[in-house]
């Protein structure tokens, strides 16, 4: 009864192409944003349960937000443009390390002068953006093969990016400012003179970036370029005959996707880990992100969030729950059971709804639209 379209007439195309054409949805999203931007920081500030400890912020919400952003990026490429990539982790790494370099100051030795090129450290926020930009450039480069290679071959080919950059950031000491261990510490996360030290601050930074990112990507995918991506995904030959240039569509998808992923990588390093080594962006990360997109729903922004939540939180639950009920199970057994359950759920979900959560939600909405009358 509550969720009805009837009586909501769109008198202009502007209204019809809005992100949330439905009144109820608009209210819902407003409430959600309110809760995210005001309620959670409030609870955290005054240490009110469930945010009495900052576990929820630091270990769940911040990673959730950052990985959601990454998932959105992957979704642009895989979900909207249909170019399967297993190299997302690498682009997170590029974002993180380039942001680190910009944030700590760059010195390039140059052949024409002793001094070389030096760029002083710049504000972390700017550094993060530049990290994203660098990642976008790399994305375009490694996207070029996609003009020729398709499907699973491309998927495997993208692993070249993954392993290559893993190696680069392990081996090229310049990227890690020559630290003996090759592990880097993010510079203090301050913007406009204000130091983002507490987890609430960092949470807000991540939340803002994710909201902005989701908004922009949504705009892209509902507009002309988004339609070009989907056209390429659904039938590239026909798309070309419609006057869509494959290289423009694909490379723009790679650029946008890796930009977003790069930003999320920089946030992962700066706002979440604080100190990291390349292993933090390994092939496992790439697979994890692909999972989020497929479980959440290809070609759905909301799906990216759902997928991220599911993939991130499920394992944690699976291992905390038994210990909470004081079951005398060794962590080893738990870990194995966890991996079994996780795999099982993945398969189950794929069998029940190959199009992921987003699809389930669409069906659910259909239902409640008609509720209580089935027709």
């Amino acid at each position: 009864m509550l969720y009805r379209e009837t009586g909501q007439f769109k008198s202009s195309y502007a209204e019809d192409i809005a992100i949330f054409p439905l009144y109820q949805d608009r209210v819902a999203i407003k409430l959600l944003l309110l809760a995210a931007f005001l309620l959670i920081p409030f609870l955290a500030k005054f240490q009110i349960w469930p945010l009495s400890t900052d576990y929820l912020l630091r270990a769940i919400l911040i990673p959730f937000l950052v990985l959601s952003l990454a998932a959105i990026g992957v979704n642009v490429l895989v979900g909207y443009c249909g170019q399967v990539s297993l190299g997302s982790g690498a682009f997170m790494a590029i974002g993180a390390y380039c942001a680190y370099k910009f944030g700590t100051g760059i010195h390039l030795p140059a052949f024409w002068s002793e001094a070389g090129i030096s760029i002083p450290p710049i504000s972390p926020l700017l550094a993060i953006l530049l990290g994203g930009a660098m990642s976008a450039v790399a994305g375009i480069l490694f996207g070029i093969p996609s003009l020729r290679i398709k499907g699973l071959y491309l998927a495997v080919a993208t692993l070249a990016a993954q392993f290559f950059f893993d190696w680069v950031f392990l081996r090229v000491k310049w990227f890690t400012n020559y630290t003996p261990s090759g592990s880097v510490n993010a510079p203090a996360l301050s913007l406009f003179g204000y130091e983002l030290s507490t987890s609430v601050d960092r949470y807000c930074l991540c939340l803002a970036s994710v909201t902005l990112g989701a908004f922009c990507v949504k705009n892209l995918v509902r507009g002309n370029i988004g339609r070009q991506w989907m056209a390429i995904r659904d039938m590239d030959i026909a798309a070309e005959l419609m006057g869509i240039r494959p290289y423009y569509a694909k490379l723009s998808a790679f650029a946008v996707s890796s930009f977003v992923i790069g930003i999320s990588g920089a946030l992962w390093g700066f706002a979440h880990l604080g100190s990291w080594e390349p292993l933090a962006f390994s092939i496992d990360r790439s697979l994890q992100l692909l999972f989020m997109v497929i479980i959440g729903g290809m070609g759905s922004i909301a799906g990216s969030f759902l997928g991220a939540g599911f993939i991130l939180i499920l394992p944690i639950l699976l291992e905390t729950v038994p210990s909470q009920f004081g079951l005398p199970v060794s962590t080893e057994v738990i870990a194995h059971l966890q991996s079994i359950t996780f795999g099982g759920l993945i398969c189950l979900l794929l069998i029940k709804e190959p199009r992921g959560f987003a699809r389930l939600i669409a069906l659910f909405r259909q239902k409640i639209r008609l509720w209580p009358f089935p027709h």
Binding site: C216, G223, R233, L241, I244
Partner: protein, 297 residues
Amino acid sequence: MRDATGRDKMNIANVKRPYRGREEEVFEPEPGDGARASDKVTAGQIFRLENIGLSFGGVQALRDVSFDIRKGEIRAIIGPNGAGKTSMLNVINGFYHPQRGIVEFKGKRRNSMGPYFAAKEGIARTFQNVALFKGMTTLDNIMTGRALKARQGLLSQAIFYGPARREEIMHREAVERIIEFLEIEHIRKATVEKLPYGLQKRVELGRALAMEPELLLLDEPMAGMNLEEKQDMCRFILTINRSFGTTIALIEHDIGVVLDLSDRIVVLDHGQKIADGSPQEVQRDEKVLEAYLGTVH
């Protein structure tokens, strides 16, 4: 011709009140409308193929074929299965690159042109077995036809509010006129893969029209349709041609339809042209009769 606002006197997408007449009325051209039956004959070539030879590996798809398409006419390409009709269309809009021969479009001669270039130059087409973007709605499918007319960059699209939104709405209006013309309002928001075949064909036609083409290629537009679907499709084709002056080249198996619709017919058999001329001439041609129509009787 086609500026940022996509204004183009000769196209449905910009005619404010689209023509919605029944079949017999169609033959009376609207005032201020360029295309008349009389000046069609004298109208110059818009497209010309000269001694086209096309082969895949050893297989000769087209052997030394030449023919032209005149501005504003409906040109039919017929022939038995495997005669090379679709290959011909693929050559025309640059999907296949012939090994021999010359392609001339709007006076520009070249050995072949890329699909993107062809589309940019104003050639649109539909496909033998529907090639819609399955995952997208009718609306989005037709909107993709406007891709070439989009002017806004990535950044402005990402921000959306402002120019990008204005452009989006402008294209939407154009597309809505096409939707109205093709009478598919009711499936506007439906995902195309679930639509019945006849409707899919219509959506595909809409997608081609959205490109505001000068030359429209239709590959078996009525395949697998029932009678009234065919009648509708005929009506659309005639309106597009007569009222909006779009040149049309079509492949069709239903000889009746072809004879009624087309101004001139070219007949292919085994990759060779065996006849070319008005419906009457072609009908009388022995070669055609034995090779093709003969089978009909």
